[in-house]
């Protein structure tokens, strides 16, 4: 597959991608920490009263790891729970100023970053993609929902 990232006209960078960058974390070459920044010496064993003893409540490292894990799910969407999405851009062919003052439909030089999510409606988050169902086709521009069609 040709590497599209290398040609400027096919750049996959956009303002939204840049805006997300400060939140991105990369563990490469880093120490394992607790959420308070303490370096972890043993990520494989809980703290016990003896190597065949019961686990101790004071094991804040275990409790933090397990509590975060226990709480990592959020309720799924009631409809459209199953979906897949991608980043991209939208560019208008010709200015539509005669009909609208919306910037992304009038400025032919503007590339509007978008995030598009396709989905089924009825199935739960882990359900099959090929259910006989209506499909969602939802488009988000930066900060603003532009349109959504079924």
């Amino acid at each position: 597959m040709p590497d599209k990232k290398k040609t400027p006209e096919n750049s996959t960078e956009n303002k939204k991608i840049a805006e997300l960058a400060p939140n991105k974390e990369d563990s490469n070459g880093q120490y394992l920490n607790t959420n308070t920044g303490v370096k972890i010496n043993d990520d494989h064993n809980s703290l016990k009263a003896g190597d065949r003893g019961p686990t101790l409540m004071e094991d804040f490292i275990f409790r933090e790891k397990m509590t975060h894990f226990d709480h990592e799910r959020i309720p799924e969407r009631v409809v459209h729970a199953r979906g897949s999405a991608a980043h991209g851009v939208f560019k208008v062919y010709e200015s539509m100023e005669k009909y609208t003052k919306a910037g992304f439909l009038t400025d032919t030089s503007r590339e509007t970053p978008v995030f598009v999510r396709f989905s089924t409606v009825a199935g739960s988050r882990g359900s099959t993609d090929l259910a006989r169902d209506v499909r969602g086709f939802a488009v988000n521009s930066i900060q603003r929902r532009v349109f959504s069609t079924l």
Partner: protein, 574 residues
């Protein structure tokens, strides 16, 4: 399954993150056949025994009603004199332990993703109440160190040859819930829900579970009052000083919500042990506060070998196929190679067969070091698994499904393939015999509604060839009828139905006058040469003129569950 992947609960988030869909693209759904799972497993030799169970047919049960349940951990019993012993819990299904074929499992997942849920629901609705016996393995406290493994290690079983399972009671499921959400979804289970007489051990997996179940329920059910949800509250009234919180239902009266109090008359008051008050077993502990794994936990291979050794030839083949499938779906060749190295420690032939399927060489042994779950300051040598050794006993009969109960066709689903012009008597006689033996018969035809038999009687149709699939049935039967046979023989869906049932090693019966339908299948050359019972039972194909004799042999064949021997020709030589 009676064991788990990990020994210390601290590894649970890592295990689950590894097996769940990968975090960048959330693929694959509900499958262990991907890189992150096998990456983790190949670096954690303590999971080897569990991997044997997971790769066996135990991981694709025919029904919830036909699988065993286990307490996994070693628990304690405590008697009225405060004497304790260790105990392992088992649930033994009275219908036996049965599984489906892997190809079948994948097809069922598409054609009826609710297969097990529907099976359990229908069995209970129809009065075929699922039953299990509660089994216990009791180990006197004095025998704690008598075994080659540690009783506190959740990756080990106690082989039934060493400590027999005593069957002490029966569980019967006789009523479906009224509302899925209110009951099935909101129910909250917990290892720590015990009564006086049952207590915990120091199993470090169980210790962590005692914390994490409540912790999960706090968020899943929205706060500390989840035990007031109808399905979760005890039958006895609850009196304590726990108060308020989101969605509190109880209206506590009075001024006092603390203890001790005098304004509330000292109530609620503690119960003496003689009155049923829970008192923890006074286990002696004299130890350092330590973050460590006991060396007694490092025999990772012996019971994996015991499990593999105990399987029948078809069961072993299924494990080889499962490992080839799973590791074949792993893109990173180095991970496949590392797993083959681990498998050499379980069984050389297993490793060789899996390697052949992956087109890899078998290494002399596992990559060194084998175990990568080592603390930063620990000596890695102290975390290496013990070298493989021959298990004692060398096999355990309880670990193979070949030795399970095979004397009943109770609740088995039998499909009858019929078309217009079928011989009604050959339908009715066999149907009555199967139903008398407890089986469920469904008439499957090219169309729904009714089939008009040769004698002009009408036979109601339950499923069409479009709405049914062979994977929903335990066995198939083709009754007689000149027109019916001609229709089925020429119907690609009907022939596929039979071909697929044969491929999944199910019992297949046909009236002698419908033999032509079986001759249209790919197994035409495998049809029995004579009409003896012995010939029929070799391949599980029953062709008889006499319907009473047909029904009798067919029932025996269905009770065998599957004729895995049929898979032999497609085996690759070692």
């Amino acid at each position: 399954m009676p064991v788990f992947f990990i020994q210390d609960a601290n590894k649970f988030p890592d295990l689950v993150h590894a097996v769940k869909p990968e975090p960048h693209n959330e693929i694959p759904q509900a499958a262990s056949a991907h890189d992150t799972f096998w990456d983790f497993i190949s670096l954690m030799p303590e999971s080897t025994h569990m991997i044997m169970w997971l790769m066996s047919d135990r991981a694709i049960p025919r029904s919830y009603r036909m699988m065993e349940g286990f307490g996994v951990h070693t628990f304690r019993f405590v008697n009225a004199k405060e004497e304790s012993c260790f105990v392992k819990f088992h649930w033994k299904p009275l219908l036996g332990v049965h599984s489906v074929a892997w190809d079948e499992a994948q097809k069922i997942s598409g054609k009826d993703p609710d297969f097990h849920r529907r099976d359990l629901w229908e069995a209970i609705e129809s009065g075929n109440f699922p039953e299990w016996e509660l089994g216990v393995q009791i180990v006197p406290e004095a025998d704690e160190h008598k075994f080659d493994f540690d009783l506190l290690d959740a990756t080990k079983i106690i082989p039934e040859e060493l400590v027999p399972v005593q069957r002490i009671g029966k569980l019967t499921l006789n009523r479906n819930p009224d509302n899925f959400f209110a009951e099935t979804e909101q129910v909250a289970f917990h290892v720590g829900h015990v009564v006086p007489g049952i207590d915990f051990t120091n199993d470090p997996l169980m210790q962590g579970r005692l914390f994490s179940y409540t912790d999960t329920q706090l968020i899943r059910l929205g706060g500390p009052n989840f035990q007031e949800i109808p399905i979760n509250r005890p039958i006895v009234p609850v009196h304590n000083n726990q108060r308020d919180g989101y969605m509190r239902q109880t209206i506590n009266k009075g001024r006092t919500s603390y203890s001790p109090n005098s304004l509330g008359g000292g109530c609620p008051y503690q119960a003496k042990m003689a009155e049923g008050g829970f008192s923890s077993y006074a286990e002696k502990i004299d130890a350092r506060k330590i973050r460590e794994r006991s060396r007694s936990f490092f025999d990772h291979y012996t019971q994996a070998t015991l499990f593999f050794n105990s399987q029948s030839a078809p069961e072993k083949q299924h494990m080889i196929d499962a490992l080839r499938f799973e590791l074949g779906k792993v893109d990173t060749v180095a991970i496949r190679q590392r797993m083959i190295g681990i498998l050499t420690q379980v069984d050389k032939d297993l490793a060789a067969q899996v390697a052949y399927g992956l087109g890899l060489e078998v290494p002399a042994g596992p990559e060194q070091p084998v175990n990568h779950a080592v603390p930063a300051d620990a000596d890695p040598a102290q975390y290496e698994p013990f070298p493989p050794k021959a298990p004692v006993p060398d096999i355990s009969a309880a670990l193979s499904m070949v030795n399970t109960i095979k004397d009943s066709i109770q609740t088995r689903k039998i499909g009858f393939l019929v078309a217009d012009g079928v011989d009604a008597a050959t339908v009715e006689t066999v149907k009555s015999a199967l139903e008398a033996a407890g089986a469920v018969v469904e008439i499957i035809a090219p169309h729904l509604g009714e089939i008009i038999a040769a004698d002009n009687s009408a036979i109601p149709v339950q499923k069409s060839l479009l709405t049914a699939s062979s994977v929903f049935y335990d066995a198939l039967y083709v009754p007689a009828g000149v027109t019916s046979s001609a229709t089925l023989e020429a119907d690609a869906d009907a022939v596929h139905f039979l071909n697929e049932a044969y491929r999944h090693c199910k019992a297949i019966a046909a009236h002698a006058d419908a033999r032509q339908v079986l001759e249209a299948t790919y197994f035409a050359k495998k049809l029995p040469e004579d009409d003896s019972e012995e010939s029929a039972m070799m391949e599980g194909i029953v062709i008889q003129k006499d319907v009473k004799k047909l029904a009798k042999i067919f029932i025996r064949a269905i009770a065998q569950h599957r004729f895995w021997e049929r898979e032999k020709p497609r085996r690759v030589p070692a």
